[in-house]
Subunit: 148 residues, 2 copies
Amino acid sequence: MKIRKAKPKDFGAIFRLMNELARFEKLTPPDKKAKKRLREGAFGKDPLYKILVAEHKKEIIGYAFYFYTFSSFLAKKTLYLEDLFITEPKRRFGVGKLFFNELKKIAAKNKCGRMEWAVLEWNKSAINFYNKLNAMPLNNWVYYRLVF
Amino acid sequence: MKIRKAKPKDFGAIFRLMNELARFEKLTPPDKKAKKRLREGAFGKDPLYKILVAEHKKEIIGYAFYFYTFSSFLAKKTLYLEDLFITEPKRRFGVGKLFFNELKKIAAKNKCGRMEWAVLEWNKSAINFYNKLNAMPLNNWVYYRLVF
């Protein structure tokens, strides 16, 4: 089992896992145009996000999408974890923990003050996992979205 | 009254406003080192965030810090508003609305699918303002933070 940077050729496997995540989160998976933008966003000039994958016996079994945001009051970067997904049959073997260890290393190397992410409130197993990492829920903040 | 991009020389005024925001949000304002990082983060090579200011009769009366994040499922950028602050005596005259109009223009120009931000749950006047913008609170998501 290893966690490594994704390569463009991993996208087939990543899209299959994104479909599995979409079913799990009851969201619409990316369509053909969105898949094109995802490829360009990760590997074009001026990348918008970064991808780690978990590889086990030459199979991609999970992925993490992340990028950097900025905390004005710390005046430091934040590593923001946009997606973390491990295919259902490969869960509960510590893959999530390996992803977090790698992300914490990357965050430290990039002088981040924090790492942040969001979880659906009904996803109790993920919430249990995050609580064991000593992460804290930002309960006193309300997040807002304006859709165009 | 105009909303414009900040210049390096605006930082004196911006720091005074950040102190006022810190008192309001009961947070610690940036110290000397953090102020240096804020200057570099906005105007160094490889900027980490962008600043708009509201200028009224040559006085800086408010600021917005923002940057771009990425939505994996939209496969589009999000304009993330890290801070929006208007000095207390200049509120209720539509300055917040002008900031949002400008930010929506910038988001459209940059092909963003969304705009997002966070508000402290006790900040009822801000929440009323955001609700009037047709923004929606992301009530089914829990945000987590890991501090290093």
